[in-house]
């Protein structure tokens, strides 16, 4: 049962920021509400004011530019991203990730900005965005801030957002040549969140060359999405082989900081990381060779 609250539905970003500034700690922002309403129903959150930004249409867009990459407004739905032709220009991994996020019904209503702002370390978009070196913009009445998506999550369900700030946009840069990115998650029920999620991005010197850069990101393996930097070092500057990918998986499973919960034990999650890093790395490598 939800507790009562005041409902405010601004139509512009300016109005939303003004309301947010006014109510700060006594409010929550709702976009699609696909995660928030569950927490409210469980009684974990009982805001006095709910500021609904789903109707702020100026935050609903996908812009694609051959040089600058993608710009995605915060209230763009998962389904809009999944279906967008803009994903075909090198951002296919985003569409693939969205296609496996929750269910069609949830993707139809839930938003990318809401998902990221929710700060659930098991969320699908953040690991992929971090692997893609994405950045984001936050806005308050005082101005805007830009940061790497990697720096946005601070702890379980905690982000770098100030109480008077909104996430407004996510930017995904065009990948360097010979880059491939892949993502997968393991879960028992297909529409559930990740038990472990792994995103890997690999950049090669040339079509069949050594690894120039690697980004390995683990979801549901700690308080935030985690970069497995030691595992990345295993690959960087080397010719990638199946053996190296297994080593990287081994390294990543040490770097992971998973908890035990209803879905899996810590030990099992580490085993998943080991297997999935090698598996997703192999897919990213194949894509890098074709890119």
């Amino acid at each position: 049962m939800l507790r009562d609250f005041e409902y405010l539905a601004p139509k512009t970003l300016e109005e939303a920021l003004t309301l947010l500034d006014e109510h700060q700690d006594e409010c929550k922002v709702i976009a699609g509400g696909q995660s928030l309403l569950i927490l409210m129903r469980q009684g974990l959150l009982a805001p006095e004011y709910l500021i609904d930004i789903k109707g702020v249409s100026e935050l609903n867009y996908i812009e694609s530019d051959a040089r600058e990459g993608l710009k995605i407004g915060a209230v763009t739905t998962h389904r809009a991203i999944e279906k967008s032709p803009a994903m075909k220009n090198g951002f296919g991994v985003l569409a693939e990730m969205e296609h496996r996020l929750a269910s069609i019904q949830t993707r139809n209503w839930g938003t990318i900005g809401g998902n990221i702002s929710h700060g659930d370390p098991a969320g699908d978009p953040a690991p992929v965005l971090i692997a893609l070196n994405a950045t984001l913009t936050t806005a308050g009445l005082g101005g805007t801030r830009n940061m790497a998506v990697e720096d946005f999550s601070l702890n379980f369900f905690e982000t770098a957002l100030e109480p008077s700030e909104l996430l407004t946009e996510i930017q995904v840069p065009v990948a360097p040549p010979h880059t491939g990115t892949a993502y997968t998650k393991f879960n028992i029920i297909e529409s559930d969140v990740a038990t472990v999620g792994v995103a890997v991005s690999i950049t090669l010197d040339s079509g069949d060359g050594v690894c120039r850069d690697a980004r390995i990101v683990l979801g549901a393996c700690g308080a935030t999405p985690i970069r497995a930097k030691q595992a990345e070092e295993v690959l960087r500057g080397k010719k990638i082989t199946d053996k190296r990918l297994k080593e990287a998986g081994q390294e990543a499973s040490h770097e992971a900081e998973p908890i035990s919960d209803i879905s899996a034990s810590e030990e099992y999650r580490r085993e998943l990381v080991k297997v999935l890093v090698a598996r997703v790395g192999k897919e990213a490598l194949a894509r890098a060779r074709q890119a």
Partner: protein, 159 residues
């Protein structure tokens, strides 16, 4: 406290006054008496509460009614027209695509949304289309057969 809510449900316009915490499923079931839509898990997991909002399948247990303000809702009660069942409903009956029936309204609405978007889905796409709906009588195969029969043109919409 209460806010004005305007909705068109199954073609019928409504003007209601609801508390902000009212969920779309509560408006449909408790305010409008449209109890075909079921309330299952209450956590966007089971899909029993699926309705179409502005042409999209959504889970009505996880949307505030006020977020649907000005929108058009189609529930299972709006599928049949003039006393004639919708082709999906006919096919579900003929193929035994329900046992207890609790998931059926949601299944039908997910299937309808999928076919509106893609009238010729593959078997894989049909499975994906109903993947947000759980059936605990394990009737998935018969549901897929029923949807496939509609896709194959075995059931035509009667005018």
């Amino acid at each position: 406290m209460r806010k004005e809510l305007r909705l068109v449900v199954n073609g019928q316009p409504y003007e209601l006054y609801v508390k902000p915490k009212t969920l779309l499923v509560e408006v449909l079931r408790d305010h409008l008496g449209l109890t075909g839509t079921k309330r299952g898990c209450n956590s966007a997991s089971c899909g029993a509460c699926t309705v179409m909002l502005n042409g999209m399948a959504v889970k009505s247990c996880s949307i505030l009614a006020l977020q649907a303000d000005g929108g058009e809702v189609l529930t299972v009660e709006g599928l049949a027209s003039g006393g004639e069942l919708h082709p999906l409903q006919e096919a579900f009956l003929d193929h035994g695509a329900l046992q207890c029936g609790f998931c059926t309204a949601g299944m039908l609405m997910s299937a309808k949304a999928m076919l509106d978007e893609n009238p010729e889905p593959t078997k894989k796409q049909i499975k994906e289309g109903i993947h947000g709906n759980i059936c605990r009588c394990t009737g998935y195969n018969s549901i897929i057969r029923a949807v496939t029969a509609v896709v194959n043109g075995e059931y035509k919409e009667k005018k």
